[in-house]
Amino acid sequence: MNAPADALVVRDMTVARGGVPVLAGLSFRLDPGRVLILRGPNGSGKTTLLRTLAGLQPAMAGTMSQPAEAIAYGAHADGLKAVLTVEENLRFWASVYGTDAVEAAISGFNLTGLRSRAAGNLSAGQKRRLGLARLLVTGRPIWLLDEPTVSLDTASVALFADAVRAHVAAGGSALIATHIDLGLEAEVFDVTPYKAQAATDPAAGGSFDEAFL
């Protein structure tokens, strides 16, 4: 599993929010079986970086290489449908991703007792657990997680850490933006030094306003 083709490799990447570069010159790699923790103050561009890696927005510069169809993205919002039950929510994503891991996901995040409850009736922490259980049903090896532990209690954080550990042990990897200590064996990547400086070279203008200066 250690072939470079299985790794997420980012080279010299610049990511932008609303046409303004926020992080520049990012280079790192995430090998299978590893966890990388993203750190940085609020507004430093962690979410933007994750969205770029997930393919939701184009990078302004730089390249990334990744195995095909490998990434599962877990955003701030869980994308749950309030009127569907816990099980129906998971079954939907399972069939979108073409997997059959619903039972494992339900038991993995301790949702068994809640399985036929409508997602709208769950507490914030329970919703979050359901959102994280979605990652298990995707069957994807690389997890990109944005603040996954928001509104989780200590026991649920431990549950989440266990899930990540099991995922990593099975050859998966995870890139997690978080502020708390998950108790995972992980490298830490601090984005603070990569904060983009205002470009002074007008020729650098691609899809942003520098061309006008």
Partner: protein, 218 residues
């Protein structure tokens, strides 16, 4: 893709308002027109196909902003965009779900409402046929409009302003087909035009709508 269709149908059934609201709106429009123009059968019958078409169009418009807005707000659209499902396919499925919950009930209810407007029974088949051929185009064009405005706070009014001009050709040919058929004239040409618009919209607009969604998610 079928999973998305099933989920959307389930959502609109459970959340309420999806099925019934459009139909109720259609009924109200149909009932209001005689109050406005008078109860004479001689006036109502000839304009019935047009009223039914305009009513169907407005009822369709009513639920357009729900196509993507809710998924955008709760984050499922982000997750769908990163899922192994082509955005174009998701757009088509959403449009189909919209048609099944809005367009199809209108098609089925059209004869009843036609009878309210003193429409002669010969016209029932024509109005149902033209609506059945035309309303899928309304859903698809509407999905494109909804994709354009999904990121906006108060997109509803703008959505109407964008979508209604795009509805004009469908409305013209659809209403023309129904009224010609009802009056016993040759209605093949407008009928074929409606079918053509529907097929063309289904073939091309998913790409435009998916492009608009990707731009909005950036």
């Amino acid at each position: 893709m079928i999973a998305l269709l099933i989920r959307d149908l389930r959502l609109s059934v459970r959340a309420g308002g999806g099925f019934g609201l459009g139909l109720a709106f259609f009924l109200i429009v149909t009932v209001l027109v005689p109050f406005g123009v008078g109860p004479e059968e001689a006036i109502l019958a000839p304009i019935a196909p047009g009223i039914l078409w305009v009513g169907a169009l407005l009822a369709c418009l009513l639920s357009l902003d729900r196509i993507f807005q809710l998924d955008y707000e709760d984050g499922s659209l982000d997750l769908l965009a990163t899922a192994p499902l082509p955005m174009e396919g998701a757009v088509v499925m959403k449009a189909v779900a919209h048609w099944l919950t809005t367009g199809l009930p209108l098609v089925l209810a059209a004869p009843v409402f036609g009878a309210l407007l003193n429409m002669p029974p010969e016209g029932f088949l024509w109005i149902m046929g033209s609506l059945a051929l035309g309303t899928p185009a309304l859903s698809m064009i509407g999905a494109f409009g909804a994709a354009l405005t999904v990121g906006l706070k108060r997109g509803g009014l703008l959505l109407s302003l964008l979508v209604l001009p795009l509805y004009i050709p469908t409305l013209i040919f659809g209403a023309e087909a129904a009224s010609r058929g009802m009056a016993g004239f040759e209605a093949g040409t407008p009928m074929l035009m409606v079918a053509g618009i529907t097929l063309g919209s289904l073939a091309l607009l998913p790409f435009a709508a998916a492009a608009a969604l990707r731009i909005n998610l950036r």
